[in-house]
């Protein structure tokens, strides 16, 4: 303290007034600066551990939303059907959409059984091509209809009505429409046997209104069932039901994936904590001479504990903050590479990582200190 002889007396007096705090801080900082190598390796371990923990926690909370988006490619998870096959009221689509509030996509479908020119029964559907394209991304379509009186013909239906791609007639209740196939549709299911027209064409020809609205609602299962209830209230004339095979498969697969990810993340975080533990233990053991000198100079056990605890805790805090930033970067990178979508940084993870780091750091310091405390300072100073 008195190494600066020209310091004004009041400065010396001020320092003397609170010697503990400034000396404490000074020791903390000098310990880190003088032993840069060891401190840096301890800090590095801390940073890596908290970066990994941050990235994993971030992914774990985000992965569900990401995978859910993939599952939405399945198509509808809610269907609205007129009771007993009846048409829905004209306002049903508008009301469904306002109940949905932009969280999903609703596509109307109208169906009739028409006859081809040689008298075969065939299912003809009217729909909104732009919407159905977004809803059912698995539809394999050679060319989407763009003009009026163009139809999308299922692969099996095409072989019957228009094997050479020529225009054909469809008759329903005495009305005939002549349509030309724009492209063929292949799904491997019932759609292959159908012919799809634009809703305007379809209604003008058959006079039948949509009887089904297929909805792909986004969000968690709770949000989807909320959407379902709002739609059921908005369209009381219709039956609104979830598509169980989609919803349950989604919940099931998500559950398994999350469990596997949770197990992996726990293992990784455990390993990272282990890494911190062994590095910090080495660091504290390495400083047994400092410890001995302080003890020999009359430092109390409490002060020593406090000193090492403060050192470990500040290492934990600094490591956690730097690691958090790096971890967010890793999570964003994984989001880009694997999901082709940004991962939203979750700042809620920070307190968890911070707390975890400090606890692990304190634990790592506590173990060697309890060993050192039992040793006489003279023994350590003699190098035994």
């Amino acid at each position: 303290m008195s190494s600066f002889p020209h310091e004004p007396a009041e400065v010396v007096a001020r320092r003397a007034g609170k010697p503990h705090t400034s000396m404490f801080l000074r020791m903390l900082i000098r310990a880190a600066v003088l032993r840069r190598g060891r401190a840096a390796s301890a800090l590095l371990a801390m940073i890596v551990a908290s970066a990994v923990a941050t990235a994993m926690l971030n992914l774990y909370t985000d992965v569900q939303a990401k995978l859910r988006k993939e599952f939405r490619n399945y198509g509808a998870n809610i269907v609205v059907i007129g009771r007993d096959g009846a048409s829905l009221p004209g306002s049903a689509l508008v009301e469904t959409e306002s109940a949905l509030g932009g969280r999903g996509i609703a596509v109307p479908f109208a169906y009739v059984v028409a006859r081809t020119s040689d008298g075969q029964s065939i299912v003809v559907a009217g729909t909104d091509f732009d919407r159905v394209r977004k809803l059912n991304s698995w539809w394999s379509v050679t060319n989407w209809p763009a003009n009026s009186n163009e139809a999308l013909v299922g692969a099996r239906a095409a072989a019957v009505v228009s094997p050479k791609g020529q225009a054909f007639d469809l008759t329903f209740q005495g009305h005939t429409i002549r349509v030309s196939p724009a492209g063929t549709l292949r799904t491997g299911a019932a759609e292959d046997s159908r012919i799809y027209l634009s809703l305007a064409n379809f209604e003008g020809w058959s006079g039948v209104q949509p009887s089904t609205i297929e909805i792909a609602a986004t969000g968690s299962p709770e949000e989807v069932s909320e959407s379902l209830q709002r739609i059921a209230q908005a369209v009381p004339e219709a039956e609104v039901k979830p598509v169980r095979q989609v919803m349950e498969a989604e919940a099931h697969i998500l559950g398994k994936t999350r469990a596997a990810l949770l197990a992996s993340c726990s293992l990784i975080i455990l390993t990272a904590a282990l890494c911190v533990l062994s590095t910090l233990m080495g660091w504290v053991l390495d400083r047994r001479r400092d410890f001995a000198i302080m003890k020999a100079l009359g430092a109390s056990g409490r002060l020593l504990n406090g000193f090492f605890a403060a050192e470990a805790a500040s290492l934990g805090v600094v490591g956690a903050v730097i690691g958090f930033v790096i971890g967010i970067g890793i999570a964003i990178w994984i989001g880009r590479v694997n999901f082709h979508a940004p991962v939203v940084p979750r700042f809620g993870v920070l307190p968890i990582v911070l707390l975890g780091s400090v606890v692990v750091a304190l634990l790592s310091a506590a173990l060697p200190i309890s060993v050192l405390r039992r040793v006489e300072p003279a023994m350590i100073l003699r190098g035994e």
């Binding site: 390796s41 371990a45 890596v48 551990a49 990994v52 995978l67 599952f71 490619n73 399945y74 198509g75 059907i81 096959g85 169906y111 059984v113 029964s121 065939i122 299912v123 991304s137 698995w138 539809w139 394999s140 099996r156 239906a157 292949r186 799904t187 491997g188 299911a189 019932a190 292959d192 046997s193 089904t212 169980r244 095979q245 349950e248 498969a249 697969i253 398994k256 994936t257 469990a259 596997a260 990810l261 197990a263 992996s264 293992l267 990784i268 455990l270 390993t271 990272a272 282990l274 890494c275 062994s278 590095t279 233990m281 080495g282 890793i330 994984i334 590479v337 694997n338 003699r382 190098g383």
Partner: protein, 418 residues
């Protein structure tokens, strides 16, 4: 002398060796378990998906168009062609038989209840036992349609009990255990079926019952097949007719959904097999994402365990500077001291790696049982790879610390002034 030094070092410094060894065991165990999970998770999730929904549909080749709206068949039941039930067990004789998780035939029959109203009776397998060659297997909707829920008991395939759809049951006030007259026959209702689909308004019966009512023994209208497939690539999408024999063999022997469909067509006479694109295409994407995610997580795990092992090794060597100083003071050459430490590290790595591999196997198995109700399989070829990785990581972790220890002036080391 060298071996004695190594031996004594292990004998006398049990605590230190144990600490470093534990770190290696844990690190290797985590790495092994993660690699095992990452390599197997695709298959596990794929199987989970396949027990939920079938991804292939086989229909009669000469069939007329489906006249079906919202899952309700409007086609006259006698119309069109049928598949032959006798062909079904042959599926288990196909090249990709092990990839077939299950299949379920369907035969919808329009019939009437005793009050005269029309009803669809769907004939299928619930859990029908088969044997083909030496192999026994059980298949039916219970293993392909995971979302079908039954309140009560599933009927036996060789009995005449039926399931009734929940909406139909509510309309008719039928409870389980009641007797239902359908198609002029009396059937006991063993349970109420809920699917959220058209089956809620139908009666679901063993296939033989539907065939008897229709009067066409051995008839099957559709066959749903759940098969484990490989994601499509350019080869998968090519037309097999345009391939040369060599390419065709490669295509045929890859579990693409297209080649499995092709083989189903070969196996079942007069049939047409098609992938159900809604299932196959979307689930392929989901699966690819999950696999990619686990791969990246595994990389993180490998990185973390490598770091943990090297940190433990560095600490262990750092503590032994006085020993190094003594050896140097007695005239030990840097190279031989380094060799001593590397030998110790190698022994630790091999022992710890072997123990860690064993622990990792147990860990992976436990995780597999807990999450997927089945063991996670681990390729034995992983063992030497894991051991090599353990030795490399241990060496890399020790190298810097050994170098520092060897270069340190013995005077300072012996005086304890590190």
């Amino acid at each position: 002398m060298f071996f004695r030094l190594v031996y004594e070092s292990f004998r006398r410094q049990k605590r230190r060796k144990l600490l470093a060894g534990i770190a290696i065991v844990l690190g290797v165990a985590v790495a092994t378990a993660m690699i095992a999970i990452a390599t197997d998770i695709g298959d596990k999730i794929n199987r989970e998906m396949r027990t939920y929904r079938a991804n292939l549909l086989v229909t009669p080749q000469a069939d007329t168009l489906d006249v079906e709206i919202g899952g309700v068949n409007l086609k006259p039941p006698s119309d069109g062609a049928f598949l032959d039930e006798a062909d079904l067990p042959k599926i288990k004789g196909m090249f990709w038989r092990h990839n077939i998780v299950g299949f379920a035939p369907m035969l919808p029959v329009t019939t009437h209840l005793n009050n005269g109203s029309a009803v669809t009776l769907l004939g299928t397998y619930f859990a029908k036992p088969f044997s083909f060659g030496k192999e026994d297997f059980v298949t039916g909707v219970r293993s392909t349609n995971g979302w079908w829920k039954v309140d009560g008991e599933w009927p036996r395939d060789d009995a005449s009990d039926v399931l009734i759809g929940q909406r139909l049951a509510a309309n008719l006030h039928v409870k389980r255990g009641d007797t239902l007259t359908v198609g002029g026959e009396q059937h006991r209702v063993s349970g109420i079926l809920s699917t959220g689909d058209a089956e809620d308004d139908e009666v679901v019966a063993p296939l033989a019952v539907a065939q008897r009512i229709l009067g066409r023994p051995g008839a099957v209208r559709r066959l749903y097949v759940s098969a484990l497939t490989k994601p499509e690539d350019a080869l998968a999408r090519r037309d097999p007719k345009s391939m040369n024999p060599e390419l065709f063999d490669r295509w045929y022997c890859s579990p693409y959904v297209q080649s499995i469909a092709y083989q189903l067509q070969e196996t079942i006479s007069h049939s047409h097999a098609e992938q159900i694109r809604q299932v196959e295409q979307t689930e392929g994407n989901v699966l690819a994402r999950i696999k990619g995610l686990m791969l990246l997580v595994t990389l993180a795990a490998l990185f973390a365990s490598a770091l943990a092992v090297s940190a433990a090794m560095a600490t262990a060597i750092f503590e032994r500077r006085a020993e190094v100083g003594l050896m140097k003071a007695l005239g030990g050459a840097n190279a031989s001291i380094a060799a001593l430490f590397f030998t110790e590290a190698a022994i630790l790595a091999v022992l710890g790696g072997a123990a860690g591999y064993g622990a990792g196997l147990i860990l992976a198995r436990q995780i597999g049982r807990a999450i997927f109700d089945s063991d996670i399989s681990i390729q034995p070829v992983l063992f030497p790879i894991i051991l090599v990785i353990a030795v490399v990581v241990t060496f890399a972790g020790s190298a810097a610390a050994i170098r520092k220890a060897v270069l340190f002036d013995p005077v300072f080391a012996l005086r304890g002034e590190a």
